[in-house]
Symmetry: C2
Subunit: 261 residues, 2 copies
């Protein structure tokens, strides 16, 4: 059976991270599909486009054939899965410019959203993110080396072994400065505080920007390992884990029953 | 301390479900803020609007003062939390027209997204959804009775008891036909298959619709209890549960270490 990998992202076709991930996985597969949102779709989470139709176009970037879709990363995965059915062996999402650590960021991230969307269909999925803010950093030779070789190792391991039991997505974050140190760590709860910045337009009408300040990272979390310790972080994600233990709602159910009696 | 509740949704200000939820929680609070996306934002997940500014406007619907924001449900919660800080006692999201069952739908749902966004800030949050497809159903007297009385009970219980340990959001789904039977059930994995429908525009250029067919519901899941058994379903959600057990990646870490030696 030929090995087929989908490479997608949430930064669109011109992200340097897309080329890095393509380079990383190309030797692992017989066919690498590169399909991405037409425009950057950061913070789109698992959003799907159900109310308007999608268009697909093709562009060539260097040696890479890229299909672009006017939708979200989840749209891309959804559409690709319906075209290729069970014959995708891996979805590799990224490499995102900016880290995707913490539950707060993971659930809003289009990069991780694409991977979760693949996992829902039972396709192994890995999300990759880089904790820099300047696209030029992702072209530094030492950064390229770290990202390409590590992404290839993780993707190759998943292709050979499948996802471990109870793991639906593996999320990898690279620190800004290259390292070989990697650690498996849980998601922190939060990465940013919630801020709202008020401005006035030239007509005097107010508008608002959502904004956040980094929170103090808690040791033992992905945010701490990545940003304070400068390690590569690897975090397994679980879809079933989204349901909390049912017995915790016994008190509520008892009260509802009493009301009915 | 006065009790303050935020009511929001992903169907926008004119959804009949919004009025039902307002009616349900009004007697429980000293102040009920109603703040919603300007236009329907179904399937926006936890998407945030970071790249453009937000506008806020006020409208009055019956006796309800509604602030509308040109963003997603998560934007609404994010903005409200930053304005009111820790002084929100409950976020009630919904009542969504259409059920929000399964991991697949929960993670894409703006209704549940708003509740998860609140939970990230430590604010108790409950999401409500109704398994009908016709807005007129939500004005049927027996449906109104079920939704208002049950939503009030659940919201009141959370206000009195707080969220149980390990539970971040409670998601409630009402069946199309009124009942008093309620059950605590886990999320199914999927609700729909992934389909893509191809059409051609008048110029002969193809476009695509994302679409899905319901999957056969699995007994013991929220989808089954709601759609087959016709029960009200209550599902506790956990943010920490999103991290899978770390030891499952031991094989990967061992291999990465060998590579370095």
């Amino acid at each position: 059976m030929p090995v087929r990998i989908l490479v997608t992202n949430d930064d669109g076709p011109f992200s340097p991270g897309l080329r890095l991930l393509y380079r990383a996985v190309k030797p692992l597969a017989d066919e690498v599909l590169v399909i991405v949102p037409e425009t950057p779709k950061s913070a789109s989470g698992l959003g799907l486009t159900l109310h308007k139709p999608l268009r697909v176009n093709e562009i060539i970037i260097d040696d890479m054939r890229v299909l672009i879709i006017n939708g979200t990363p989840s749209d891309v995965v959804y559409a690709t899965l319906s075209l290729y059915g069970g014959s995708l062996d891996l979805v590799a999402s990224g490499v995102n410019l900016g880290d995707n650590t913490s539950v707060q960021v993971a659930l809003a991230s289009g990069t991780i959203g694409a991977a979760l969307q693949a996992a829902l269909a039972g396709v192994p999925a890995v999300a990759f993110s880089y904790a820099g803010t300047d696209p030029a950093d992702m072209e530094r030779e030492d950064v390229v080396d770290m990202v390409v070789s590590f992404s290839r190792k993780v993707s190759g391991w998943v292709l050979r072994n499948g996802m471990p039991p109870g793991v639906d997505v593996i999320s990898v974050n690279f620190p800004r400065e290259p390292t070989k140190e990697a650690e498996v760590v849980p998601l922190a709860m939060r990465r940013f505080t919630n801020l709202l910045v008020k401005r006035e337009d030239p007509r005097g009408v107010p508008y608002y920007w959502l904004y956040g300040q980094p929170v103090d990272p808690e040791p033992g979390t992905d945010v701490y390992a990545l940003l304070v310790e400068g390690k590569i972080t690897i975090t397994p994600l679980s879809l079933r884990g989204l349901t909390a233990p049912l017995e915790e709602l016994r008190g509520l159910i008892d009260e509802l029953k009493e009301d009915r009696e």
